[in-house]
Structure formats: C-alpha cells, structure tokens
C-alpha cells in the first residue's frame, strides 16, 4: 500500500486510453450512430412523403374522374340538345317546304283555272258567233264580224 511511481504510470495509461477511445472508438461510433439516425429520419420522411403523395394521387384521380363524368354529362346533354335542334330544324324546314309546295300548287291551280276560263271564254265567243251566224244566215262582213266577236269575247 505504498504510494509510488505506479501512480504516474496509471496517470499516463489513463491519458493514453482516453486519447485512444476518443480517436478510434467514440468518434467512429457516434458518427455511425448519427448517420443511422439520419438514415432512419430520412426513411420516415420518405414514408411520410410517399403516403402524402398517395393521398394526393388519390385526390387527383377522384378529381379527374369527377371532371370526366361532368364532361361526359355535358357531351350527352349537348348531343341531346343538338338532336332536338336538328329535329326542330327539320320540322321547320318541312313546314316551310310544305307551305312552299302548297303555294306552288295553288299557283298552278290558279293558272290552270285562268287558262281554262280563257279557253272557255274563247270557245263561248266562237260558239256565240257561230250561233249568231246561224241566226243571221247572212253574209255579214267577215271583218265586221271579227270586230263584233272580239268585242263580245272581251265583254265575256
């Protein structure tokens, strides 16, 4: 139990071991453990980000689906409207065409009627003249007759 140089020897070995521990043990271990901590933190963050991305993607998909549905509905509606419009237009055209045909037919009929009237008039005039010739049985001047007949035809 004597105090002697062992004291100094122990002091020196203690300092040596501290230096060794600091240089070759502590620095490496702490660095490695911090690296792992960073790694784990990164991993957790990545997982967070991935789940957030997933959520976002789902939201986006839902949105897109909704938009697509809206678009489809709009297209269908437009198509319906267009169909109705076409039908209406067709109806209108048919009415116009019908009217036009009617008017044309009427005009033709009127024309025919007028022609028939004219013909009748002429024939009546000739008949009347023939009747009158027969009645008179005389040589009436051809020219005077013609004037008479024309006059009569105009009066008819």
């Amino acid at each position: 139990m004597n105090i002697n140089l062992t004291l100094i020897g122990q002091l020196i070995s203690f300092l040596f071991f501290i230096w060794f521990c600091k240089k070759f043990v502590w620095a490496a271990l702490i660095g490695m453990m911090e690296e792992r901590q960073a790694k784990i933190a990164d991993g957790l963050e990545a997982a967070d980000r991935a789940s957030r991305d997933l959520e976002l993607a789902q939201e986006k998909a839902t949105d897109q689906l909704k938009v697509a549905k809206q678009e489809a509905a709009a297209i269908i509606e437009q198509a319906n409207k267009r169909a109705n419009q076409i039908i209406d237009e067709a109806k209108e055209q048919a009415v116009v065409e019908g009217d036009r045909l009617k008017v044309a037919a009427q005009a033709e009929i009127d024309q025919e009627v007028n022609r028939a009237k004219e013909e009748l008039r002429k024939k009546v005039a000739v008949l009347a003249l023939q009747g009158a010739e027969k009645v008179l049985e005389a040589n009436i001047d051809e020219n005077a007759n013609r004037a008479l007949v024309d006059n009569l035809a105009a009066q008819l």
Binding site: N2, T6, Q10, L11, F14, F17, F20, V25, W26, A28
Partner: protein, 286 residues
Amino acid sequence: MAGTNQTGTEYIQHHLTNLTFGNHPEHGWSFAHNAQEAAEMGFMAVHVDSLAWSFGLGALFCLLFSRAAKKATSGVPTGFQNFVELLVEFIDGTVKDSFHGKNVWVAPIALTIFVWVFLMNLMDLVPVDVVPYLLSLAGVHFQKIVPSTDPNVTLGMALTVFVMILYYSLKIKGIGGFAGELALQPFSAKNPVVQALFVPVNLALELVGLLAKPFSLGLRLFGNMYAGEMIFILIAMMYSAGWILGLFGGVLQWGWAVFHILVITLQAFIFMVLTVVYLSMAHEDH
C-alpha cells in the same frame, strides 16, 4: 492457498502485497521479496502487477471497442455492436444530462472510465487464489490481480481527473476567474477591507474542497474494492479449515460475488458520473 504452512495473517499479508519492482536502498533496482522491502523502496518503485493488469484491461477495452467501431455499420446492428452501441448511448445520455458545456472529450473520458474501471473491478470476481497460485508456480511470488484495490491506481486516475479539472478551469475561466472562484467565495463583502480579510478564509475552504474532489474520488473506489477483496480473502481462508467450513465458504463466496457484481458496476458508474460532474463544474463560467 499458496502455502499451507502459512498463518492466517501471513496469508492475508501475502495477498495484499503487490509485485513491486523498484530501487531498494540496499539491493538496487530489483523485485521486492517481501512487503517490508517494497515499503523501503519508497516512491521510486512500480507495482508491476497493478500496472500490467490495469494496462492489459485498458488495452482489452480499446481493442474490443475499436474493433466494434471499425466494423460498425449504420445498418441494422448485430451482436457485439449492439452491446457497444447500448453502452455508448447510455454514456452519451448520462454525459448530456450532467455536462452542459461544449467539450468533445468528456464523453470519451466517461466511456473510458466506465468500461475500464468496470473491467478492473471485475477482476475481483476471479477467485482470489487462482491467478496468484498459477503465477507462484511460475516463480512470481506476489500478485494482486484487482488493480482498483491498489490506491496507486485509483488515486492515479483521480489525479488525472484533478489535472483535467485544473486544466479546464484555467482554460474556461482564465487564471483570474479561477483564482476569484477560490478566493472570493463563499464569503464576500462590499467593503474591500472586509473582503481582504475574507480571502484567506475562502482560500482555505475552497482549496480543501478542491483537493477533496480527487481524494474522495480515488479513495471511494479504492475503499470499496479493497473491502470487497478483503472479504473474498477472508472467505477464502475458510477453505483450509475443513470441508464443512470450506463448503460454507463456497456458498459465501458465491453470495458475495453476486452482490459484488452490483458493487463493481455501481462503483464504476459513480467514478464516471463524478468525473463528469467535476468537469462540468470546471466548465461553469460565472
């Protein structure tokens, strides 16, 4: 027992004598042949066994831990790396709890102290006669295998801690700050004359407090381990007193060893924590 014709006192005396190499006034540089010669060598002597065991255990610590550190990966830790990381994390936490300054040396110091002191204390659990007996067959007469039962070892470490305390106190606080801390506390007065009167009183109190730190640190470890070792030796004496007492001694030794597992860990931890606390105090700038 090393020799069956020893008396109990001789047996104990034998177990408490270090293998000493030193400058004997009559025989010159040589190994001491008995405790008296070792005492006569004075300061110029070395406890070969204490130094060899403590250095060997320290080297073992360095070897194991540096190998673990070299192999360590930041991936999933396995086996010994797990254990080392557990220890490192534990020490790191303890240091962060009680040391608030900025010094990268404190944590490695704490780790070194904890593992090294633990390993030195652990030698206490080796049955007291095994190594000395084997070495006596090889011609080595004295052997104390528990370095921490040697006051030179514990006080040597405490002295190192004391040097660190002084170094960091001077570095952080400066000479003036450190001297002021010693001279102007705990008594202080506004009146300069009264203050001057207080200075010697303060110095006396604070210097005692300062010196008590390393002494209590070293002697606490030494006392605990020495007492534990002493009880192991006393128990070991029962082995030569018939087989009934020998059997009883075996049970006692087992029980004391189990209890001692707690003591050696606790003492290593206390030495470490106190060192950290002392260094923390040295870093506190007022």
